[in-house]
Protein backbone atom coordinates (compact mmCIF):
# COMPACT_ATOMS: atom_id res chain seq x y z
CA UNK A 1 0.00 0.00 0.00
CA UNK A 2 2.75 2.35 1.02
CA UNK A 3 4.72 1.51 -2.11
CA UNK A 4 1.68 2.16 -4.31
CA UNK A 5 1.17 5.50 -2.59
CA UNK A 6 4.83 6.48 -3.03
CA UNK A 7 4.69 5.36 -6.65
CA UNK A 8 1.66 7.54 -7.29
CA UNK A 9 3.35 10.49 -5.65
CA UNK A 10 6.42 10.08 -7.80
CA UNK A 11 4.27 9.72 -10.93
CA UNK A 12 2.50 13.06 -10.48
CA UNK A 13 5.72 14.94 -9.82
CA UNK A 14 7.45 16.64 -12.76
CA UNK A 15 9.76 14.31 -14.65
CA UNK A 16 12.95 16.06 -13.60
CA UNK A 17 12.02 15.87 -9.96
CA UNK A 18 10.88 12.27 -10.21
CA UNK A 19 14.27 11.25 -11.50
CA UNK A 20 15.90 12.70 -8.41
CA UNK A 21 14.46 10.29 -5.86
CA UNK A 22 16.29 7.01 -6.09
CA UNK A 23 15.20 3.92 -4.23
CA UNK A 24 17.73 1.47 -2.78
CA UNK A 25 17.59 -1.97 -1.17
CA UNK A 26 20.06 -2.75 1.59
CA UNK A 27 22.38 -5.67 0.79
CA UNK A 28 22.07 -7.94 3.85
CA UNK A 29 25.40 -9.67 3.19
CA UNK A 30 27.28 -6.37 3.40
CA UNK A 31 25.15 -4.56 5.96
CA UNK A 32 25.51 -5.21 9.68
CA UNK A 33 24.49 -3.47 12.84
CA UNK A 34 27.29 -3.85 15.40
CA UNK A 35 27.13 -2.73 19.00
CA UNK A 36 29.57 -2.24 21.85
CA UNK A 37 28.92 -2.11 25.55
CA UNK A 38 31.04 -1.74 28.66
CA UNK A 39 31.63 -4.94 30.64
CA UNK A 40 32.24 -4.45 34.38
CA UNK A 41 34.38 -1.39 33.72
CA UNK A 42 37.16 -3.63 32.37
CA UNK A 43 36.58 -4.19 28.70
CA UNK A 44 34.26 -3.43 25.81
CA UNK A 45 32.10 -6.23 24.54
CA UNK A 46 31.25 -6.24 20.84
CA UNK A 47 28.14 -7.77 19.31
CA UNK A 48 26.55 -7.98 15.90
CA UNK A 49 23.14 -8.66 14.43
CA UNK A 50 23.65 -11.09 11.57
CA UNK A 51 20.26 -10.55 9.88
CA UNK A 52 18.77 -7.26 8.82
CA UNK A 53 16.84 -5.95 5.83
CA UNK A 54 15.94 -2.50 4.70
CA UNK A 55 15.18 0.11 2.09
CA UNK A 56 16.51 3.59 1.55
CA UNK A 57 15.84 6.55 -0.70
CA UNK A 58 18.28 9.18 -1.88
CA UNK A 59 17.19 12.54 -3.27
CA UNK A 60 20.49 13.97 -4.48
CA UNK A 61 19.09 17.27 -5.72
CA UNK A 62 17.02 17.71 -2.59
CA UNK A 63 20.04 16.62 -0.54
CA UNK A 64 18.05 14.26 1.65
CA UNK A 65 17.03 10.67 1.98
CA UNK A 66 15.25 8.09 4.09
CA UNK A 67 16.19 4.80 5.74
CA UNK A 68 13.88 2.01 6.86
CA UNK A 69 15.71 -0.83 8.59
CA UNK A 70 14.47 -4.03 10.25
CA UNK A 71 16.84 -6.09 12.42
CA UNK A 72 16.13 -9.67 13.47
CA UNK A 73 16.72 -9.57 17.24
CA UNK A 74 17.41 -13.33 17.43
CA UNK A 75 20.38 -12.95 15.09
CA UNK A 76 22.42 -11.31 17.87
CA UNK A 77 25.93 -12.74 18.02
CA UNK A 78 28.73 -11.96 20.48
CA UNK A 79 31.03 -14.94 19.91
CA UNK A 80 29.66 -16.91 22.85
CA UNK A 81 27.03 -19.23 21.42
CA UNK A 82 28.13 -22.58 22.84
CA UNK A 83 26.81 -23.06 26.36
CA UNK A 84 29.20 -25.94 27.16
CA UNK A 85 28.60 -26.94 30.78
CA UNK A 86 26.91 -23.61 31.61
CA UNK A 87 23.12 -23.21 31.84
CA UNK A 88 23.23 -20.96 28.76
CA UNK A 89 25.58 -19.15 26.43
CA UNK A 90 25.78 -15.35 26.41
CA UNK A 91 23.97 -15.21 23.06
CA UNK A 92 21.14 -17.33 24.50
CA UNK A 93 20.99 -15.00 27.48
CA UNK A 94 20.85 -11.97 25.17
CA UNK A 95 17.85 -13.51 23.36
CA UNK A 96 16.02 -14.08 26.66
CA UNK A 97 13.56 -11.75 28.38
CA UNK A 98 16.51 -10.25 30.36
CA UNK A 99 17.72 -8.49 27.21
CA UNK A 100 16.22 -8.58 23.69
CA UNK A 101 13.23 -10.80 24.56
CA UNK A 102 13.16 -12.09 20.99
CA UNK A 103 10.15 -14.37 21.51
CA UNK A 104 7.99 -11.34 22.21
CA UNK A 105 9.90 -8.73 20.15
CA UNK A 106 11.46 -10.54 17.18
CA UNK A 107 12.32 -7.31 15.38
CA UNK A 108 14.14 -4.09 16.13
CA UNK A 109 13.33 -1.32 13.67
CA UNK A 110 14.78 2.00 12.68
CA UNK A 111 13.23 4.69 10.52
CA UNK A 112 15.21 7.80 9.81
CA UNK A 113 15.77 10.83 7.64
CA UNK A 114 19.15 11.26 6.00
CA UNK A 115 20.67 14.75 6.04
CA UNK A 116 23.28 15.83 3.53
CA UNK A 117 26.16 18.21 4.00
CA UNK A 118 29.09 18.84 1.69
CA UNK A 119 29.58 15.92 -0.65
CA UNK A 120 27.24 13.43 0.89
CA UNK A 121 25.07 12.21 3.70
CA UNK A 122 26.45 13.13 7.09
CA UNK A 123 23.69 12.38 9.58
CA UNK A 124 20.62 10.21 10.03
CA UNK A 125 17.98 11.35 12.50
CA UNK A 126 15.39 8.79 13.33
CA UNK A 127 13.46 6.59 15.69
CA UNK A 128 14.51 3.19 16.92
CA UNK A 129 11.91 0.73 18.20
CA UNK A 130 13.31 -1.83 20.61
CA UNK A 131 11.27 -3.98 23.04
CA UNK A 132 8.18 -2.14 21.80
CA UNK A 133 9.53 1.26 22.92
CA UNK A 134 10.26 3.96 20.32
CA UNK A 135 12.95 6.57 21.03
CA UNK A 136 14.86 9.11 18.94
CA UNK A 137 18.43 8.36 17.92
CA UNK A 138 20.94 10.25 15.77
CA UNK A 139 23.52 8.45 13.66
CA UNK A 140 26.58 10.26 12.40
CA UNK A 141 27.66 9.12 8.96
CA UNK A 142 31.36 8.32 9.25
CA UNK A 143 31.69 7.09 5.65
CA UNK A 144 29.44 7.63 2.65
CA UNK A 145 29.87 6.93 -1.02
CA UNK A 146 27.57 6.39 -3.98
CA UNK A 147 28.83 5.02 -7.26
CA UNK A 148 29.11 1.95 -9.44
CA UNK A 149 30.08 -1.40 -7.91
CA UNK A 150 33.63 -2.03 -9.21
CA UNK A 151 32.72 -5.41 -10.78
CA UNK A 152 28.96 -5.58 -11.40
CA UNK A 153 28.79 -1.85 -12.27
CA UNK A 154 25.45 -1.72 -10.47
CA UNK A 155 24.67 1.63 -8.88
CA UNK A 156 25.05 1.52 -5.13
CA UNK A 157 25.61 3.57 -1.98
CA UNK A 158 27.57 2.41 1.03
CA UNK A 159 29.05 3.69 4.23
CA UNK A 160 29.29 3.41 7.97
CA UNK A 161 27.26 5.21 10.60
CA UNK A 162 27.43 5.33 14.38
CA UNK A 163 25.22 6.49 17.23
CA UNK A 164 24.42 5.85 20.87
CA UNK A 165 21.37 4.74 22.83
CA UNK A 166 20.72 4.04 26.50
CA UNK A 167 19.17 0.60 26.85
CA UNK A 168 17.36 1.44 30.09
CA UNK A 169 15.24 3.93 28.13
CA UNK A 170 13.84 0.93 26.27
CA UNK A 171 13.26 -1.03 29.47
CA UNK A 172 16.35 -3.25 29.06
CA UNK A 173 17.69 -2.97 32.59
CA UNK A 174 19.39 -6.29 33.32
CA UNK A 175 22.87 -5.96 34.82
CA UNK A 176 23.10 -2.14 34.69
CA UNK A 177 25.59 -0.69 35.60
CA UNK A 178 27.98 -3.72 35.68
CA UNK A 179 26.97 -4.24 32.07
CA UNK A 180 26.81 -0.75 30.63
CA UNK A 181 23.65 1.24 30.01
CA UNK A 182 25.07 3.11 27.02
CA UNK A 183 25.27 1.14 23.78
CA UNK A 184 27.30 2.39 20.83
CA UNK A 185 25.82 1.26 17.52
CA UNK A 186 28.03 1.10 14.44
CA UNK A 187 26.56 0.09 11.15
CA UNK A 188 28.42 -0.79 7.98
CA UNK A 189 26.07 -0.86 5.00
CA UNK A 190 25.83 -1.23 1.24
CA UNK A 191 22.63 -0.73 -0.74
CA UNK A 192 21.85 -1.34 -4.41
CA UNK A 193 19.73 0.98 -6.49
CA UNK A 194 16.40 -0.72 -7.34
Amino acid sequence: MRKVFLGALVAVMPLAAAAQVESYTIDPIHSFVNFTIDHLGFTTLHGRFDKSTGKATVDRAGRKGTVDLVIEAASVSTGDNDKGSRPRSRDEHLRSADFFNVAEFPRISFKGNVKFSGDGANEVEGQVTLLGVTKPVVFKMDRWKCGAHPFSKKEMCGGTASGKIKRTEFGMKYGVPAIGDEITLTMGFEAYKD
Binding site: F32, G41, F42, T43, D50, G79, F151, G159, G188
Partner: protein, 195 residues
Protein backbone atom coordinates in the same frame (compact mmCIF):
# COMPACT_ATOMS: atom_id res chain seq x y z
CA UNK B 1 47.27 -23.36 48.01
CA UNK B 2 48.61 -21.21 45.24
CA UNK B 3 46.74 -18.18 46.51
CA UNK B 4 48.15 -18.74 49.97
CA UNK B 5 51.64 -19.01 48.55
CA UNK B 6 51.31 -15.82 46.49
CA UNK B 7 49.70 -14.11 49.45
CA UNK B 8 52.64 -14.96 51.71
CA UNK B 9 55.10 -13.90 49.01
CA UNK B 10 53.34 -10.55 48.73
CA UNK B 11 53.30 -10.19 52.49
CA UNK B 12 57.03 -10.82 52.69
CA UNK B 13 57.78 -8.50 49.78
CA UNK B 14 55.46 -5.70 50.81
CA UNK B 15 57.84 -3.75 53.04
CA UNK B 16 60.24 -3.32 50.15
CA UNK B 17 57.47 -2.47 47.71
CA UNK B 18 58.38 -5.43 45.53
CA UNK B 19 55.52 -7.17 43.75
CA UNK B 20 55.94 -10.61 42.25
CA UNK B 21 55.24 -11.14 38.56
CA UNK B 22 51.58 -12.11 38.17
CA UNK B 23 50.36 -14.57 35.61
CA UNK B 24 46.95 -14.27 33.98
CA UNK B 25 44.89 -16.51 31.71
CA UNK B 26 42.64 -14.90 29.09
CA UNK B 27 38.93 -15.55 29.61
CA UNK B 28 37.76 -16.85 26.22
CA UNK B 29 34.16 -15.72 26.83
CA UNK B 30 35.30 -12.13 27.26
CA UNK B 31 38.29 -12.02 24.92
CA UNK B 32 37.85 -11.47 21.20
CA UNK B 33 39.97 -10.44 18.28
CA UNK B 34 38.01 -8.24 15.85
CA UNK B 35 39.12 -6.93 12.50
CA UNK B 36 37.85 -4.38 10.02
CA UNK B 37 38.61 -4.14 6.34
CA UNK B 38 37.53 -1.83 3.53
CA UNK B 39 35.05 -3.30 1.04
CA UNK B 40 35.21 -1.86 -2.48
CA UNK B 41 35.76 1.64 -1.12
CA UNK B 42 32.12 1.75 0.03
CA UNK B 43 31.91 0.32 3.52
CA UNK B 44 33.84 -1.41 6.29
CA UNK B 45 33.27 -5.09 6.94
CA UNK B 46 33.91 -6.23 10.51
CA UNK B 47 34.84 -9.74 11.51
CA UNK B 48 35.59 -11.59 14.71
CA UNK B 49 37.38 -14.72 15.79
CA UNK B 50 35.13 -16.56 18.22
CA UNK B 51 37.79 -18.82 19.73
CA UNK B 52 41.10 -17.73 21.18
CA UNK B 53 43.18 -18.56 24.22
CA UNK B 54 46.24 -17.12 25.85
CA UNK B 55 48.25 -16.14 28.85
CA UNK B 56 50.34 -13.24 29.96
CA UNK B 57 52.71 -12.44 32.80
CA UNK B 58 52.57 -8.94 34.16
CA UNK B 59 55.53 -7.73 36.20
CA UNK B 60 54.75 -4.29 37.50
CA UNK B 61 58.16 -3.78 39.07
CA UNK B 62 60.16 -4.81 36.03
CA UNK B 63 57.63 -3.05 33.81
CA UNK B 64 57.21 -6.07 31.60
CA UNK B 65 54.38 -7.97 29.97
CA UNK B 66 55.07 -11.34 28.38
CA UNK B 67 52.13 -12.40 26.27
CA UNK B 68 51.07 -15.29 24.08
CA UNK B 69 47.71 -15.53 22.33
CA UNK B 70 46.47 -18.29 20.05
CA UNK B 71 43.55 -17.58 17.69
CA UNK B 72 41.63 -20.39 15.97
CA UNK B 73 41.45 -19.24 12.36
CA UNK B 74 38.41 -21.43 11.55
CA UNK B 75 36.39 -19.50 14.15
CA UNK B 76 36.31 -16.43 11.89
CA UNK B 77 32.82 -14.97 11.57
CA UNK B 78 31.57 -11.93 9.66
CA UNK B 79 27.83 -12.51 9.91
CA UNK B 80 27.63 -14.29 6.55
CA UNK B 81 27.72 -17.98 7.46
CA UNK B 82 24.74 -19.39 5.52
CA UNK B 83 25.58 -19.87 1.85
CA UNK B 84 21.95 -20.14 0.71
CA UNK B 85 22.05 -20.79 -3.04
CA UNK B 86 25.56 -19.36 -3.45
CA UNK B 87 28.58 -21.64 -3.89
CA UNK B 88 29.86 -20.54 -0.47
CA UNK B 89 29.26 -18.05 2.30
CA UNK B 90 31.76 -15.29 3.03
CA UNK B 91 32.87 -17.06 6.22
CA UNK B 92 33.52 -20.24 4.20
CA UNK B 93 35.49 -18.19 1.71
CA UNK B 94 37.53 -16.62 4.52
CA UNK B 95 38.47 -20.11 5.80
CA UNK B 96 39.63 -21.16 2.32
CA UNK B 97 43.19 -20.88 0.93
CA UNK B 98 42.19 -17.49 -0.59
CA UNK B 99 42.31 -16.02 2.93
CA UNK B 100 43.07 -17.76 6.25
CA UNK B 101 43.67 -21.24 4.81
CA UNK B 102 42.34 -22.68 8.05
CA UNK B 103 43.02 -26.31 7.13
CA UNK B 104 46.72 -25.76 6.62
CA UNK B 105 47.10 -22.97 9.21
CA UNK B 106 44.52 -23.68 11.94
CA UNK B 107 46.08 -21.19 14.34
CA UNK B 108 47.58 -17.76 14.26
CA UNK B 109 49.69 -16.71 17.20
CA UNK B 110 50.72 -13.41 18.70
CA UNK B 111 53.72 -13.29 21.04
CA UNK B 112 55.24 -10.34 22.81
CA UNK B 113 58.04 -9.83 25.28
CA UNK B 114 58.11 -6.05 24.87
CA UNK B 115 55.54 -3.75 26.34
CA UNK B 116 55.73 -0.06 27.05
CA UNK B 117 54.26 0.92 30.37
CA UNK B 118 53.11 4.25 31.70
CA UNK B 119 53.54 3.76 35.43
CA UNK B 120 52.05 0.31 35.95
CA UNK B 121 49.70 0.52 32.98
CA UNK B 122 50.71 -1.15 29.70
CA UNK B 123 50.16 1.30 26.85
CA UNK B 124 51.79 -0.48 23.93
CA UNK B 125 52.48 -4.12 23.13
CA UNK B 126 55.22 -4.77 20.59
CA UNK B 127 54.82 -8.32 19.37
CA UNK B 128 55.03 -10.68 16.48
CA UNK B 129 52.08 -12.17 14.68
CA UNK B 130 52.39 -15.49 12.90
CA UNK B 131 49.69 -15.79 10.24
CA UNK B 132 49.77 -18.23 7.31
CA UNK B 133 53.19 -19.34 8.55
CA UNK B 134 54.64 -15.83 8.17
CA UNK B 135 55.89 -13.96 11.24
CA UNK B 136 55.85 -10.17 11.20
CA UNK B 137 55.92 -7.45 13.87
CA UNK B 138 52.54 -6.06 14.90
CA UNK B 139 52.21 -3.34 17.54
CA UNK B 140 49.04 -2.95 19.57
CA UNK B 141 48.14 0.27 21.38
CA UNK B 142 46.38 -0.46 24.67
CA UNK B 143 43.59 2.10 24.83
CA UNK B 144 41.84 0.67 27.88
CA UNK B 145 43.36 -1.20 30.85
CA UNK B 146 42.19 -1.96 34.35
CA UNK B 147 43.19 -4.49 36.98
CA UNK B 148 40.88 -5.00 39.95
CA UNK B 149 38.85 -7.69 41.67
CA UNK B 150 35.89 -8.97 39.63
CA UNK B 151 32.86 -7.17 41.11
CA UNK B 152 30.97 -10.43 41.69
CA UNK B 153 33.55 -13.21 42.18
CA UNK B 154 36.18 -10.87 43.74
CA UNK B 155 38.83 -12.75 41.78
CA UNK B 156 41.60 -10.45 40.49
CA UNK B 157 41.25 -9.72 36.78
CA UNK B 158 42.84 -7.44 34.25
CA UNK B 159 40.84 -6.31 31.23
CA UNK B 160 41.00 -3.82 28.45
CA UNK B 161 41.06 -3.08 24.76
CA UNK B 162 43.92 -2.80 22.28
CA UNK B 163 44.04 -1.62 18.68
CA UNK B 164 46.47 -2.06 15.85
CA UNK B 165 46.78 -2.70 12.18
CA UNK B 166 48.57 -4.73 9.56
CA UNK B 167 48.83 -5.18 5.83
CA UNK B 168 47.54 -8.66 5.02
CA UNK B 169 49.58 -8.84 1.81
CA UNK B 170 52.73 -8.90 3.97
CA UNK B 171 51.55 -12.27 5.29
CA UNK B 172 50.85 -13.53 1.78
CA UNK B 173 47.08 -13.02 1.97
CA UNK B 174 46.58 -11.22 -1.35
CA UNK B 175 43.16 -12.26 -2.61
CA UNK B 176 40.92 -9.41 -3.74
CA UNK B 177 43.34 -6.54 -3.08
CA UNK B 178 42.66 -3.67 -3.50
CA UNK B 179 38.85 -4.10 -3.84
CA UNK B 180 38.91 -5.89 -0.49
CA UNK B 181 41.37 -3.79 1.47
CA UNK B 182 44.97 -4.66 2.20
CA UNK B 183 44.95 -2.62 5.43
CA UNK B 184 43.36 -4.53 8.28
CA UNK B 185 42.30 -2.79 11.48
CA UNK B 186 42.63 -4.93 14.60
CA UNK B 187 40.67 -4.47 17.80
CA UNK B 188 41.25 -6.85 20.70
CA UNK B 189 38.97 -6.81 23.72
CA UNK B 190 40.04 -8.94 26.65
CA UNK B 191 39.61 -9.98 30.23
CA UNK B 192 42.10 -12.21 32.00
CA UNK B 193 41.81 -14.00 35.32
CA UNK B 194 44.77 -14.13 37.65
CA UNK B 195 46.07 -17.71 37.92
Amino acid sequence: MRKILIGSMLAAAAPMGVAAPESYTLDPHHTFVHFGVDHNGFSTIWGRFDRSSGKFTFDRQAGSVVLEVIVETASVTTGDSARGNRPRSRDEHLRSPDFFNATEFPRMTYKSRNAKLNGDVPVEIQGELTLLGVTRPVTLAVDRWKCAPHPVTRRPICGGNAIGGLKRSEFGMKWGIPATGDDVMIRVTFEALKD
